[in-house]
Point group: C2
Chain length 333, copies 2
Amino acid sequence: MNVAGSATPLVRRLVSGDAKALARSISLVEAESPEGRAILKAVYPTTGRSLVVGITGPPGAGKSSLVSRMVAAWRRRGEKVGIIAVDPSSAFSGGAILGDRIRMQEHCLDAGVFIRSMATRGHFGGVSRACRDVVDLLDAAGFGIILIETVGVGQDEVEVVQVADLVLVVLPPGQGDDIQAIKAGILEIADLFVINKADREGADRLASELQAMLALSPDPQTARTPILKTVATTGEGVEELMAGVDRRRRRKENAAARREKERRRSRERFLELFREGLYRRARAACLKNSEVDAIAEDLARRKRDPYSAAEEVLGRVRFPVARRKAAANGKRR
Amino acid sequence: MNVAGSATPLVRRLVSGDAKALARSISLVEAESPEGRAILKAVYPTTGRSLVVGITGPPGAGKSSLVSRMVAAWRRRGEKVGIIAVDPSSAFSGGAILGDRIRMQEHCLDAGVFIRSMATRGHFGGVSRACRDVVDLLDAAGFGIILIETVGVGQDEVEVVQVADLVLVVLPPGQGDDIQAIKAGILEIADLFVINKADREGADRLASELQAMLALSPDPQTARTPILKTVATTGEGVEELMAGVDRRRRRKENAAARREKERRRSRERFLELFREGLYRRARAACLKNSEVDAIAEDLARRKRDPYSAAEEVLGRVRFPVARRKAAANGKRR
């Protein structure tokens, strides 16, 4: 079967915005199949047109309700919206996630809205890569707005930020130790803070505490990060939020800054693929599972140490320029 | 300078429990210096004796106060305790962390307690590795108990769990959407749940909700995970917690299970070092920064795609067994 030949009609349907072709393409990409890779290569030149908005914040902040409101606003403007829900959850706490998804029900029959969940567990260092691939597919399929929704304040969020053009951090008031809740490196990643459930007690206090923390930032742009208030359940403040996103969007679209960001991201993406490819090829070529098992056994018994074992196996791989250098050194001796 | 020669007196002092030698060794290891690596190789055979306890939970759960209580209890038994605070925070939200550390002040003049903070930002996929290295050094220095304290419910926690023998998940009651706060894959990583601040409203409700969620687990061991209640500020429930840890410790020390876990971890650790080593050597040998910049520029302009670019550079690396296979294929043709 010719991969390129079989991918081409699918790519054509994908680029025309066919939802089934999009879903199929995402599945092929997630399965890391050669077809998936061929699709990514084919669509790459057409990408880079969408606005990618990351939405993060602690559980219970009301992110999904807010996303639902924002999607409705974009749909009224005629924008197609793709949503990637990055889901760090375990299999059997699925109830809560289901709850989140149900809130999105109103959009699930709308062909202008495409929702896809993405599990992150077991994908060490792979969240941003998997996200980027799906963003490219949505972008190629003509979704002008792509939302990436994540839960929590961990590594995943920092990775997702690398993919987004604009990051909204959603916080709920009245979680007791408000300052503590904000501590985990979330300040610098936000382009816009949204205090949702702003009709609850503590919203003003949270806003002023946040303001005070931002004011301490050495980076003037971080210090000026806007703080907005919304009540997603009633829609209060959503119009102002959309206006805020538009303002930030225009600023982000400053050509030089955008090109610089695009270059930095492209660099990271390429190096990630290079790193992953190296490991796969090396595993396939010179490190069998049986040897890994034997090494693990020796390490567990403290008969060898992991550093020496890694160095020994690494010694089997030869890199072209390194070889030339070694030859030159040999001549000099 | 002979690395092994210069490391040996330091290693000797480290193994004798000298705190200055320990701090120096950690710095050398964190700087990824050859001396640091030599120390890790030298001490590896002596490691594997400590109990490594991971403590995680959302911000505001009172983890640091609880750790302080547990440390005091271990100290009364004459155990030396090493603490690794994995800190995902940004530079300028440092106030909150300082607060956490101040609570540990009572132990900071005690030579039987060693506290070290470890920043995680920028260490993609490297938290568990950095932790493991420091655990080995503490282990070699005779700390029988090693606590790893992390904040949040993200990737860092999942990684830290790979290093710990026993994981305590600390939860505070009354955070509104309790079920939501627990959703991020935290159920299976816990060996013991601790509801701290148990004198606050909602502690019983949280306990019964948690119980109900655990009961749904397909894994019978997860379903039986103990749930304890403490008030770290008064010390209430800490004795029961210590007894719970002792019980779990004895169960964990079941020889066959421990050996199996040790093998699995050794395997992961070796593969991590192998993967990282491959990338470093490949970067040094056949991928200059100037070429990476040129590729990034092409990608940003959509003149090339990242997949083809990565494959092209990967083609320069030759793996020995792959070459033999290629030769065999050649003969067959």
